[in-house]
Every structure is written in C-alpha cells, then in structure tokens.
Symmetry: C2
Subunit: 323 residues, 2 copies
C-alpha cells in the first residue's frame, strides 16, 4: 500500500463505528522481518563473512543435556535469557574469501523450513552480494544435518554447482559404512539417510581430506573428534591473524562453554567430546584466539575466558562497523 | 570489474615477470566493508530497529576512568578483547515504529567522519528501507555530541525534515544557559557550542518534555540524571512487552556495567551518575528486563545479571532471525 492509500483508508475508517479498534498507520510501515544476518571480518588479507542460516527456538528436550538434571539446565538457561520452554540454537555457516578462492564452511539446514526459523543461508548470501555459483569450495566439518543439508536445494539440485566438496575422511568412513547404519539406533537412521541424500552422485567433485593438511589457502583442519567420529575444526591463518573455526566443539555456549562437562545429546562419544572440549577451550583461553562457533549467536565470533578452574565464558566480539 | 575482465587481467599478468608478487583473484571479490548494521526486534505490537552509527576504536585517554588506575582499566579491557591501545565505543541510535509514529531515539555523530568509523546512521536507515523524511519524532536523551550531532546533515540542513524534535526540559535548561557556558571549563565549551548549532532555528518543531509523561505512544521518559544534568532513559511498553532504553547510564558495558563504581570522564556529576547506575542495574537485574544501551556493542540489546554483590555483567540478547 502507498502512503496515500493508507491515509485514505484511515479517513474512511474515521467515519465508521470500528475506528476505536483500528490502529493508526505510521507513514513508515512495520517491516515484520529481520534484517539480513551478514557480518564481515578481516583475517589478515582474507575476508570472512558469517552468513547466518537462522536459529531455532524450541522447548528443551528432556535429555538435551544427558548427564545433568533438567532443573539445573533450566537455571543456566535463565541466566542467559532463555528457559526450558524457549531455548535457542543458532546456525552460522561462514564464507572465506582467501583472495584466490571463495570457500564455504558448512551449509546449514537447507531450504524449506515451514516455521521460517532456518534456511536463510542462500538469502543471506544474496544480501552479501554472493552468487552460489561463485563458491569454489565447500568444506564440511561433520555430517550432522544442520551442516550438510544445505548442500542441496529443496528440489535436490546442487546449491553450489561449481564447488568442490571436501569432507573429513574419518567422517566419511563412519557414516557411509552400511554396517554402522544397520546397527544404529532407530533415532539415528534418519541421519544416515540424510548423509546419503546430501552426498548422492557428487562424483569427482567430492574429495576426502585428512587432518593437518591445508584444504584451501590458510585453512588447515585439526581433529576435534567426539561430537562425531570425524568431527573437525579449522585454523584459518593469514599473515599474523588467526581464526579458529570450532564447529560443534560446543553446542550453545550458554550451556556447554560455561559447563564443558555437560554432554549435549548430539555428542556421539560424550567422554571423547568432553575431553576434546576441555583441551580446546583451555588452549583458546590461554591463547586469546578469536573463535567462530557454528552455534554461537550471530555473528558467532568471540573469545573464551576462564570462569573458575573448570568452566569458561564466551566474550562475544564487538561488532565492527569499519573493517 | 566483471569476472571476465579480471580473468583476462590474470591472463595478461601470467605473461609478465611480476606474476609471483601478484595475488590470484577470486571470482568473488573481497568486499572490504561491513554489512549494514540493522537489527529489528518486536516489542508487543511495535517494531524497534537498531540502526548503528558505527563504533570508534582509539587508545584510551589517561583519564577515561577518572577514579581508577589506568593499569587496572587495562586489565579489564583485556578481559573483553580490548586493550589500552585499542578501546572500542559503539554508538547505536534506535528507530521505534509504534504503528502510528516512527520515532528516532538519538541521532549519532553526524556525517563526515574522516576516519570512516562513525556516521553510518543515514546509510543504515537506507539499508533498513527508511527514508529520513518518514521520521515523525526525534527524541533526544541528552545533549552530548554523539547523540545530537546527527540532527543535521554535513551542510547544516535538517537530517529529519518532517520530524518534531523532543528534548528533556532539564537538559535544555542547563545547556542553553549562557552563564553555564561562560563558566564551563575550556574543554567543555565545544559541547555547548555544538548544542547551539544542533538546535539552531528549530522553531516550533522543538519541544521540551518532562519526566514520566509519554513523548510518543508507549514511550515514557524517566530521570537518570548524573551523566548530564537532564540525562533521560525511557520505558517502551507495548502489551506485555517492555524495553528499557538506558542511553548513557553506562558507557561501554565491559568497563562500567562490570564496575558501576567506575566514573567515565563524560559523567558530569560522577557521584550522582554512580548512584543512578547502581539503582538502575539493581532494578534491571531483578526484573530481567530487556535493555537497549546506546554504547553496547551492536545490536546493543541485552540483559543484566548480577556478578557478586556490587557488580554486573551484560548478557547480550541472542540475534533472532525470525521476529
């Protein structure tokens, strides 16, 4: 509606009995949707762009934290403006422009979420001025659905048609093993099926990477196994600048960074995941390295500080207008 | 440059001796500037849009915290990924669409910052789809330059030509008093001059507001004097939802929310400002109210939690993709 039309509508309403129940209209309409979730950060000569896929808000499943009473988790959620009834988990893929390659790290939940909470990777890439055809490499950290489903559009076509797809060799070995699928609990069968769907008929474009060897300029994987059998984090180094891409060493930091001994239901080997998490954050806190967390609130960059002997806290990086 | 042109350029370079020193070019160019800093939040039926004016990063002046040793301030800055050499202060004006009025709360630093750190209010409003002509009301919280200078364009014209301008009566009385200007220390004379320039020849469009009386639907001022003689905060209420707009009850929360007894050099009556700050955050922590802070990192919304008996901590609100 144009402004004139709206003002005319108010004029018409003014003559009617229903006026009291009608709100006035501002000249500027209420937009009703979020601005694009795009954030750029310079790492040396490279440009990192966080392009959020969105966030889901949902009642916490009873077993979300496997080894802690629900009531205690509830108190911790409330300390971060959430609750057992409304917990939020964000999803933040990342573009890295190395100057020579455009690399996408993880792909989000894919299109077509009926609730409109996630599926924003492609619209946010468009807002960032990036055509999916420009992506040269997609690097996958692990094979959970919120990281791989966005490899394909809703119609099954490749979302990044010109990209190589690089996956951790250990992750591929685990998930593509039919014996592992056969013996998996029913609740996990869908995840195995989703892996097969996401990577179907990729042919030569798909390759497996090993730890500690660059997958793109400056981008080096290191093992943070436990969350999944081949779960991988990355160091991005350019000149003196460094960024650590943790992926899912923690899920929501308000729960699992503050309490690294808590086991999220998605940790496939909880003991290994906890040991990985403690070692990872001891190092991150000591080194004061900038960390990107797939499940940190957008723009999902921050620093880790110690909070007592065994716990940690996220210090979100302050939004920079000038980069 | 188009992609073809760039690839041709690479081809040309490949024939030349300078090749080794030349970086390769990605098909996707490095953008080199931040995405728009726009964030929307629903408060009842109203829509609040944070439109950041930017952030300044600078070496901390020796007397930035008047009553604390520089070394101690440095340690606290480092705990938040800043340092004495690089402290960041963000500036975040806010639009409120009440459904009937489009209200702008504070106006930022104005245009024409040579360093490109601030002056983003108008471009970010454009990114938010708002024409400055659509602003119905500008509400000013206090008369420091980073809140009022954006009332005018670089050429002196009104930035919001159709807007009423509402200012705190107590603030007007103090700053427009020529005796106060005459007896002000030299370092403050510029601030008095800037007030006169910002509000020059506003005529009938400018009005003075009193505490505790709505200045726009749902938007009610309350006294938080001390930072300046008439410094004002606001409650925005719509239905059951409430937002408190603190303005400058604290400057950077990493320093002054964590340590409410610290006196920033801009607090004109430090004792009164501290008493105001402690009372304000005791209440905010107890009520768990959503707070908007002009100097909080963009998107500048968060909750306050107690940290020991006398200190506080900011819990940034998690970015919502669906509103």
């Amino acid at each position: 509606m144009t402004e004139i039309t709206r003002r005319s509508a108010i004029g018409t309403l003014a003559a009617g009995a229903a006026l009291a129940a009608q709100p006035a209209f501002a000249a500027a309409p209420i937009v009703g949707k979020q601005a694009a979730g795009v954030y750029r950060n310079k790492i040396g000569d490279m440009e990192v762009t966080i392009v959020t896929d969105g966030a889901r808000t949902f009642p916490m499943p009873d077993t979300f934290v496997r080894n802690v009473a629900k009531e205690e988790v509830g108190k911790t959620l409330e300390a971060s403006a959430m609750s057992l009834a409304r917990m939020t988990v964000p999803y933040n893929p990342m573009l890295i422009n190395t100057g020579g390659k455009l690399v996408l790290v993880d792909t989000g939940n894919g299109e077509g979420d009926a609730k409109g909470e996630v599926g924003y990777l492609l619209p946010n890439m468009a807002a960032a001025g990036v055509d999916p055809k420009q992506v040269d490499v997609v690097v996958i950290t692990h094979f959970h659905g919120d990281h791989i489903t966005g490899l394909r559009r809703a119609d099954g076509s490749l979302a990044f048609p010109n990209a190589e797809v690089k996956v951790p060799a250990a992750e591929w070995a685990f998930w593509m093993n039919d014996e592992n699928m056969a013996k998996a609990p029913d609740a996990m069968k869908g995840a195995f099926a989703n892996v097969r769907k996401a990577f179907d008929k990729m042919g030569d474009r798909l390759t497996h990477y090993e730890m500690d060897k660059e997958v793109a300029p400056g981008l080096t994987p290191f093992a943070t196994h436990g969350h999944t059998p081949g779960h991988t984090s990355f160091t991005l180094q350019s000149g003196k600048d460094k960024l650590i891409i943790q992926s899912d060493v923690t899920n929501n930091p308000a729960l699992f960074l503050r309490n690294p001994g808590w086991h999220v239901m998605y940790d496939m080997n909880p003991q290994q995941a906890e040991a990985t998490r403690r070692a990872f954050f001891d190092r991150a806190a000591a080194d004061k390295t900038l960390i990107a967390g797939f499940h940190y609130p957008f723009p999902s960059l921050g620093y880790v500080e110690k909070d007592g002997a065994n716990n940690f806290r996220l210090v979100p990086a302050s939004w920079q207008t000038k980069i």
